[in-house]
Amino acid sequence: MNPQSGRSTQIENEESLSRVKDEDLVVRTRAHDPWAPGELVHRYQQKAYAIAYHFTDGNVQDAEDLTQEAFLRAFQNLENFRGDSSFYTWFYRILVNVCLDATRRRKRWRQVFLPWQHDPTDKGLSPEERPDPEAHERSLKAISEKELSRDIRKSLKSLPEKQRLAFQLKALHGMSIQEIARTMGTAEGTVKSHLFRATHFLREKFKDWEEA
């Protein structure tokens, strides 16, 4: 067989496979097509990894593990996918649940085994309930760009879980409010409320920086 023709056939196959719809891939995966799950992983692993990466505060290893776990859980529960929503919304919902579970597990583990390592920002309070950050922090005008980035990450971390999730999915991953609502399993109005509160909190916190 001519290796060149073999290569071109492979490229053609790859091109035609990339045109296959997610729903068809799901059907093929259910029918134990060995190629279909690979294509689904290939399509969504970068975005899934990005979401997991932000959830784990930039821990590469944890992000990879969570991405893998989310795909596994999705394929294990593929029978439950009824096609009411798109595959990726359904998958991101699983991913978000995997990430939330991991975050809660880590939090519990810290509380039990490292109770002295208390995170002062992690009080589970809404931004409205927290003390005014400006009263405690030095002027943002003076801090460097790098410090500002660190501060942004810290502020995001201090947001309540759902506000943070809604904000990250919207601002960092460009999902629509409708998609976020489906991913979080909540109403669009609730997502908007989370999003507005989070944005308002960050806007207030970094007002000085913007003015500077």
Partner: protein
């Protein structure tokens, strides 16, 4: 000094910054934005903040090697699960394979059942026999009483006679 944004427009400003306004709301917002410098400034500030946040939280590209490793692990795990599933399916699809296992199970049940019944029955049998002996003893006693009933009646008469005589003597 910056003018303040209209308080009733704050949600619209955020929705506009997130690109979530429908065409009609968008038109309305655009008209307002051109006329209101406060809202325009706030909109720009929110856009700039969102841009800044996105910049400060970049995501490292998933390397080809890691991507392949994730895919390989997922496929590996799925393969394992399918093997497990197919093992069960083999039994379910071809029930003929279950015959030796079922026969063995029946044999075990019968054997243990027989021994078990014997073990259960033996203490009861002892109790039963003890009960029967007691019952028999009681019956024998009753028979003796019945046999000697006339003699006992005579005894009662004699006792009564004795008491009458004793009374007469005392008088």
């Amino acid at each position: 000094m910056n003018m303040k944004a209209c308080p009733d427009r704050y949600d619209t400003i955020l929705l506009a910054a997130y690109g979530e306004l429908d065409p009609e709301q968008r038109r309305d917002w655009e008209e307002h934005r051109t006329a209101c410098p406060g809202c325009r400034d706030e909109y720009q500030a929110v856009l700039s903040l969102l841009g800044r946040i996105k910049e400060s939280m970049p995501v490292p590209e998933l390397s080809e090697k890691t991507a392949r490793s994730i895919l390989w692990s997922v496929k590996q795990e799925l393969g394992k699960e399918r093997e497990k599933a197919s093992w069960w399916k083999q039994w379910l699809v071809r029930p003929g394979r279950l015959v030796p296992a079922l026969a063995t199970a029946c044999l075990v049940l019968i054997t243990f059942g027989w021994f078990g019944m014997n073990l259960i029955q033996s203490p009861d049998t002892d109790q039963d026999s003890l009960g029967t002996i007691a019952e028999n003893q009681a019956v024998v006693k009753d028979l003796e009483v019945i046999k000697n009933i006339e003699f006992l009646e005579d005894l009662d008469t004699l006792q009564e006679l004795e008491t009458v005589l004793d009374r007469n003597e005392s008088i």
